[in-house]
Symmetry: C2
Subunit: 384 residues, 2 copies
């Protein structure tokens, strides 16, 4: 396969964008990414989005966004994999360039959730679960994560506070990210006192739903032209799945899709887990950070949470995560999140992450989950 | 790019499947296609679907279907492009095999529409239009097609009955298709007397919404093994778009996306329009058959409807269309339709189309539209 590189990134701030439509948010991110890539045109556009139909009454979003962004006529398709949609769209863009079909491709992840009532947004987000066997019973994503977290705490003798470090780190990093929804530090004390959402998951355990768009421009590594200095290579792009219904999994405390996807990515990129310099993982809930670290082979089973206690996940630690705030503090516009993560890894590998810079970052990994790990999409990026 | 072939097809009947869920329909088609391909496993699955979220409360459909079909763990993503979703999923599968990422890939298009009320199904289908500038005003797809048909009749001095031949041909062909929703002939007289839906479009002008699933198995042409005799090569796979809002197009009587997509496909396959032996086009409304024939260069502008009067579109005619019933009589489960079309072209190129066989069919084209041509996906298949 042909080598593929990312040569442009663009992001809107994540927040409540009540005055901007889906197409406006997407256009803003695409044009920023094209500007960053010095690209006047692209051959195709892949859109990651979960809920434009359910919350916005709009399907066929890709053609709509292509036209709004001044790209009328080009190939455009939407990819959906619940919260993993944005990363799924990147995977498709990767295949389009790797195959030789196209030289220049745009990816945008976009989502608008905050115009809906909290109730409607939660019901919509619950469509990431099994409609017949989970959502129908009223089990929201937070409730599913809570069941898993409670069992994890029981099995490994932890208390909820043991996971506080994930959120403290995320918020500390978001403070220096101009695109973050909640750019302010939180204390361990605030975490402990936070309002309960679905016991044992509290408000500061869980990522806020938001509106936003992030975009990337990809090209073949043989077509870098003036972008050689800032180009970041996609060393691996992998997708794996698991049962959607958590009760159907062999072990509810193990993210099989994340394990498969990460290990396929290590093989494709020819890197070992210990060579990963930073890991943008899917911290929708602190328990998912824990499980993702274990599934990726970066912590032994039952020990993922310890990393958050020992300072190993900060930008200067052994395995930095959520370096620009993560889903937790940058905010989680579900179908857009996977693209934000990769844009953040690009910033790190370019050495442009400012106060959050991971020193000498060379290998960055991003992993996006659909639902509670029914889908996992992993990308490994390298700056050489 | 690597050559790609289709080695397996599977279809459920299109009808009101009230006793089968989305995952059951999809599984039935996938297993039939795997059986046809003598495949015990596939590396990835791409699902084409438009409305699982809006009508079924289920996003993340691809992981769900992969698991139901006994393929838990594999890469699985959903592609959405309104009615063009199924063909879009095939395009993605094509890229996955053409890139060398995978050797064996499944595609399934699946949709369930008939459990919803007619009103809800129409509202959902209207999400293929522009939510802010069309659907919001109450304009359904039939109403959009009616506006175009009325203008076309005015410009080219036709009456509605001049388009009757498209539906008569479709129903005549469906009579021999065991998977068709309405497998019975209709007369020109019945067409003229049919109930009006959106003047000048009547009931027999428009394709019925239905439930169903169709699947394909793809592999690299270098991996045909025992499937050499039945393999059909994908000579071209292209996607193009246009403004979603019809009022924004330069000419509402010209399908720019269909023209771009078809001509890119001719170039990729190295065939001329006159070499196409059959054309499975998107006959959701008779006016769309007319416009698709013109956009593909198979009829001069303003003359597409004449082909239906002169018997040129029957299986024994100059340019056979809707050879197994088309959307009109096979039925139109929107996100699945694009895959049905390609499965039907495969039957023709294998010489297995029974009483509907196009003699000596060698080059087959399938074109699926999203909405009224905001997206167009074209595939050219060849049996050598």
């Amino acid at each position: 396969m042909r080598d593929v590189a990312i040569i442009g990134i663009g992001e809107t701030k994540v927040k409540e964008h009540w005055n901007k439509s889906l197409r406006e948010l997407a256009t803003e991110a695409i044009l920023a990414a094209m500007n960053d890539a010095h690209a006047e045109h692209v051959d195709a556009l892949y859109v990651g989005n979960m809920l434009s139909g359910v919350l916005g009454g709009q399907e066929q979003l890709a053609a709509l966004v292509a036209d709004a962004a001044g790209l009328r006529g080009i190939e455009a398709l939407k990819v959906e994999a619940a919260n993993g949609a944005g990363a799924g769209a990147l995977h498709m863009a990767y295949l389009a360039v790797a195959s030789g079909m196209y030289d220049s491709v745009a990816v945008v992840g976009v989502e608008k959730m905050t115009e809906a009532s909290n109730c409607a947004a939660t019901a919509a987000a619950s469509m990431a679960g099994d409609a017949d066997y989970e959502a129908m019973l009223g089990i929201s994503p937070a409730a599913l994560a809570a069941l898993i977290m409670r069992r994890y705490m029981y099995e490994y003798d932890l208390v909820a506070e043991d996971l506080a470090g994930f959120s403290v780190n995320a918020h500390a990093n978001a403070a220096h990210n101009p695109h973050a929804m909640y750019p302010r530090p939180i204390t361990r004390e605030a975490f402990v006192k936070a309002k309960m959402i679905a016991d044992p998951i509290n408000l500061l355990d869980s990522a806020p739903l938001g509106d936003g768009a992030a975009a990337l421009i990809l090209t073949g590594s043989d077509r870098l032209n003036g972008n050689r200095a800032t180009a970041i290579r996609i060393a691996a792009s992998t997708v794996a799945t698991d049962a959607v219904t958590i009760a159907e999994r062999k072990d509810p405390l193990w993210l099989g899709s994340a394990e498969k996807s990460a290990h396929k990515a290590y093989a494709q990129a020819h890197v070992k887990p210990e060579e990963v310099d930073l890991f943008e993982l899917h911290d929708a809930y602190t328990i998912l950070s824990t499980l993702a670290l274990e599934a990726a082979g970066l912590a032994k089973r039952g020990t993922g949470a310890y990393l958050s206690r020992d300072g190993e996940i900060t930008p200067l630690g052994r395995i930095p995560i959520s370096t620009m705030g993560g889903l937790k503090a940058r905010g989680h516009p579900v179908g857009a999140t996977g693209v934000y993560q990769v844009a953040e890894v690009v910033q790190q590998l370019r050495g442009c992450a400012g106060k959050n810079q991971v020193p000498n970052a060379r290998v960055g990994m991003a992993q996006s989950l659909g639902g509670i790990g029914a889908t996992a999409v992993t990308h490994i990026l390298m700056n050489n």
